[in-house]
Symmetry: C3
Amino acid sequence: MKTYTEYLWFNTPTRIEFINITPQVEEAVRKSGVKEGICLVNTMHITSSVFINDDEPGLHEDFKEWLEKLAPYGRSYRHNLSGEDNGDSHLKRTIMGREVVVAITNGRLDLGPWEQIFYGEFDGKRRKRVLIKIIGE
Amino acid sequence: MKTYTEYLWFNTPTRIEFINITPQVEEAVRKSGVKEGICLVNTMHITSSVFINDDEPGLHEDFKEWLEKLAPYGRSYRHNLSGEDNGDSHLKRTIMGREVVVAITNGRLDLGPWEQIFYGEFDGKRRKRVLIKIIGE
Amino acid sequence: MKTYTEYLWFNTPTRIEFINITPQVEEAVRKSGVKEGICLVNTMHITSSVFINDDEPGLHEDFKEWLEKLAPYGRSYRHNLSGEDNGDSHLKRTIMGREVVVAITNGRLDLGPWEQIFYGEFDGKRRKRVLIKIIGE
């Protein structure tokens, strides 16, 4: 059995941003040497996400508008009484999810035709980390 | 260590549909020979889901009505400017989730009393795939 | 390869409640002897969640208020025609998620600085179970 661990760092210039990290995850799979197994990719922060969807700019704008409607910025969140202004970010990230688990088959990420892995930032301009953990053989 | 991979195909007659796939996943676990491990079940498409909940028809209607309210069909999604009409499907699937990870204990899916695994289609009438990946021993 | 299975039981005094179960999961990792691998933590019930977020009481109140808005109690859910009053609980749990998968690195849960694992109950006053499954080496 093999395992492999890698951390990716992000510091986005804007508060909300989606970054396609599929190439970095593919590269981690290659480096791991795992041919059959699974790959966990998760944000290590509670105001960001890792999710899978289409790499289509219009859709990404739809996501941002929709999340703003479901969990608007600046409403009077109790969390913001702690000195933060990111109550909404915790809720937005909850909708988008913390992690994805992807199969590795024949040494490659076993993704569908349009599946791409994204880091979703909802409280940017800070250093954040994503964890890639691969297990298999 | 053992690994096992299987793909299930779907082509639903309606746009939105939930299909109980627990029997197929149980059968994959049996075929894998894995007694202790984990089973990943994910859709390979970005307008459908794999999720776990109750196999109760009233609840499924509630889910559909609720998702329609949270992400209505036919609103002016930017994604639809690309020629698609499934902007809502991407959002609905985000609420319901892409994947489930289920423990395998004593050679069986270690599910709670009411847990059933569903394929959730939000943009049907097309061929779509679900991936089952099992690792363990 | 090692595997380890443990079940945690809950019976909350209130209908909706969040319980930090990170110490129990850390202890399970220690007992498993796994140094590198992954840890699945999932509720075995369809009206509760396991999720990761911040252990900040104001945020937890924000989550409860937000979920009540997205999926209010006591609306006329079709599911409630089956004699239940927990239609909303199934929807709330869907937003919060069924499971988390956490990496194990150097024998510890590889969590970010603020990540804590919670059991989220949305239909309490009943005995419920959480499953911890660890695989690795």
